[in-house]
């Protein structure tokens, strides 16, 4: 199913099923939490990746999202707050034969772990990052996070937040990200699709999952995920297809000068040929950045794979350098090294 550029990760000789990844641990997320849906999608995706089950590894930081590794039967590390990206980097660089998946949240990766988050992206280390964005600190019981909308009342912002939130997509593009996708936790089909695309992409893949926290930020994404409004307020991007959305499938995104605009097909002489066609493989991030920034109420929020650009990965490049050095260096072992350069014999 997966066709990665290189077959670094060992393939499974047998067909795997969901049962191969079932953990014996009790899942302790709140009933109704969006994380359950993410777990279910991962359980569907892992057996179909084609990899040996021993070659899949999960890494996490701290927070609700980060309990994830205990609930999937793979190799895994539950790390410390904010550092999952750094731990994953070490895992993948040390053993490129592993398919590494990281679960993290908006607090874990965009606040305390912001530095590691931008640098793993910049290095393009081949890791799949599931960023659970519920716009709140859940495990510490309801403080605002770097993605909480400005003005929101939370336990630590009783008069409303006075901070400008991050748009994770914008941050990813700013850090020279090669893969960015966005999904809603209530759309398991798209989530599964996007996870396969992330696995297929060589490099750091960020999937922003708009997740609902039923306890501390219930319905935080409701304005765009509500059943009756979602078709008009979301656009699902598909590579090679025109960017059309809406209940009536008559709205589209057009590039007007240097800006995007929403147009209606059939009005003011607009036809389907005026609508932009999505090219997720385009290396120039300009349009991808504009798509990632689209927000309600002026635009539909972009879902699906927004960017999947092909660039060399850190883990491939380091292996190339090692292979080159091994072939060309006179120093083949540590004894050679110890005896290199100026030495003196004393008899």
């Amino acid at each position: 199913m997966i066709n990665p550029r290189n077959y670094t990760v060992e393939r499974s000789s047998v067909e795997l099923s969901k049962e191969d990844f079932v953990s014996d641990q009790m899942v302790k997320w709140c009933p109704g939490c969006g994380a359950h849906a993410i777990l279910s999608s991962v359980a569907n995706v892992f057996p179909k990746l084609g990899y040996r089950k021993e070659n899949i590894m999960m890494v996490s930081g701290i927070g609700c999202s980060s309990r994830f590794p205990y609930y999937v039967n793979t190799y895994g590390i539950h790390g410390i707050h904010g550092r999952a990206a750094a731990i994953s980097s070490g895992v993948k660089i040390a053993n490129p034969h592993l398919s590494v998946w990281m679960t993290t949240g908006d607090g874990d990766s965009l606040a305390i772990g912001g530095n590691h988050f931008i640098h793993i992206i910049r290095r393009n280390i081949d890791i799949n990052i599931l960023l659970f964005n519920n716009q709140i600190y859940g495990l510490t019981k309801g403080q605002y996070s770097p993605t909480t909308p400005m003005g929101s009342v939370t336990k630590t912002s009783p008069m409303g937040t006075i901070e400008h939130p991050f748009n994770p997509g914008e941050l990813v593009m700013g850090a020279q990200g090669t893969f960015f996708a966005r999904v809603v936790d209530t759309n398991p089909r798209l989530m599964t699709e996007v996870m396969f695309e992330a696995a297929r992409h060589d490099g750091t893949s960020i999937i922003e999952i708009l997740q609902n926290c039923v306890i501390f930020a219930d319905k935080t994404h409701e304005a765009i995920t509500g059943k009756d409004v979602r078709d008009d307020r979301q656009i699902i991007l598909r590579n090679g297809f025109p960017m059309i959305f809406g209940k009536e499938k008559n709205k589209g995104i057009r590039l007007n000068g240097t800006r995007l605009e929403v147009v209606t097909i059939g009005e003011n002489g607009i036809t389907e040929t005026d609508i932009m066609v999505h090219d997720m493989y385009e290396r120039d991030p300009g349009i991808h950045l504009m798509l990632a920034k689209m927000s309600y109420p002026n635009f539909p929020v972009a879902m699906g794979v927004i960017r999947s650009a092909n660039y060399p990965t850190y883990d491939d490049l380091i292996m190339e350098q090692i292979a080159f050095a091994k072939e060309n260096s006179k120093i083949k072992n540590v004894d050679d090294l110890l005896n290199s350069g100026e030495t003196w014999e004393i008899k």
Partner: protein, 628 residues
Amino acid sequence: MLQNSKTNSNIIMVKSNSNVIQRESVVVKFVGDSGDGMQLSGTLFSDTAAMAGLDLATFPDYPAEIRAPHNTIAGVSGFQVHVGTRKIETTGDQCDVLVAMNPASVKSNLKWAKPGATLIVDENAFDAAALKKSGYAENPLDTDALSGYNVVKAPITQLTREAVAGIGIDGKTADRSKNMFALGMIYHLFGWELETSNKFFEKKFKSKPLVVEANKLVLQAGFNYAETVEALSSVYQLTRAKMEPGLYRNITGNIATAWGFLAASERSGRPLFLGSYPITPATDILIELAKHKSLGAKVFQAEDEIAGICSAIGASYTGSLALTSTSGPGLSLKSEAIGLAVITELPLVIVNVQRGGPSTGLPTKSEQSDLYQALFGRNGECPAIVMAASTSGNCFYYAYMAAKLAMEHMTPVILLTDGYLGNGSQLFRIPKVADMPAINPPIAPPNDPDYKPYRRNPVTLARKWALPGTEGLRHRIGGLEKEDVYGNVSSDPINHQKMVDLRDAKVQKVAEFIPKQEVEGDEEGDMLVVTWGGTHGPAQEAVEQARAEGKKVSHAHFHYIMPLPLNTAEIFSKFKTILVCELNSGQFVSYLKMTHYGPNYRQFNKVQGLPFTVAELKKTIHQMLEEK
């Protein structure tokens, strides 16, 4: 003149009709503006001394700034070399020869010259502006300020320019080789050939033949000039040092540390991974390991200290010999992650090349003030092995042992060195990797029926290392407390107590696997001088001198700190006084009082960013012996 070396017969030359001063050892210090090339002069001098068959120890002493303001005290950079015909244990309290390239160098370093020392200065550098910047009201060369020294006023800048006149290099390049003029003078003083240094120029400046020529000409000019100077009419004679036969090289502590890890990686079959962030004075470990991709070393220059250690923890989980290198403030940043390595019981070596603290402190100076941090600087009950190297050369061995203990006992190890060891160099007898002790990490085989994440080897209490990719061993670990044996998340009170006790017992058990503590000198007496880390040399020499005077003093130098060797109490019980000397306010002595209550402890401490001098230690030993 000097005896010819069998292997390097061309180094020592027979020359001139100078007077000969027989010496066991000589200390030379090169000082100048940072950028004057003093580190290079010192290095070339050391290499030539080694080729002449002498033992040596070096001590670079440089400011934190790359190029502090020209001609100021703040910008003075120095390099001290102690060479000798006997085993050289220290870099020398004070120097016999001081090469000072400007007034600021004289002003700041005169206190490090022995009374009557030879002082070679560049008189061209003593102009009004330079004198003012260095704080001299009057030119010390014109007053009797330096009357207690054998002063050689050499027009170094002028003669350097004359030496290269006509070869077609610009004035700036010409002036940059004036350090070689001073070095040429020093070679004359020792009666040494210029060949080793000339070869170095040819190699170093391969693509710049003019620079090679200029350096050679200036070195020779300095040498020739010295011949004409009456104040330099005596030359030192040092016979070859009596050293254990073998192949030797000059090595700094940081490079020895890096190589020790490479050797441990090769011997254990575990690929090396270093996650690190540049920090003075530890950066050279990162730089050195980055050179050795041909040995499979993976070096990750992380975005910060935390990512450095966390990437190493990730690599450790996958089965690498995982390392992170840092200095004091960096160790502070790594504290939380060390806790993760402790609770996940993953092997990891954290090297702390100590510098003066707290905070940014004295980045280029040495101290032993991070011992408390290494032992206790983490949340929770969080034991780790703590050990320390004691010479630039044995950084190789202790890095190797740190890696061995980390992997065999499945625990983080904090290896303490310091800036003085890391940047200083020493002659190092080259070992064979095959002669190093074997390393047997407890790797779980595929489908191991006994495997549980926290099931332990009853002898070491170490859990097994189950590497991702291995069939039948999938498991999760993490920072939450884990259930004994099974490794599931557990907040059960009795289980927590048990795991706390097990982690502690595992580290304490390491004492059964490390060498017994040795005593240098008699096994009993009036006083045992106790040191650890980079202070071995001066303490050893001070104790030897006191013993030569008939004092009942011995010396115990500790390399293993957590846990301490099992015979520590027994050794201490045979001395009336235990004098603990360290370059901090008394951290090791407090730790000893805590772990080995009873003996009559005394302490001697210095926190000046400087090594101990033999003289001050000897004085303290005498005073404390009299006090009793």
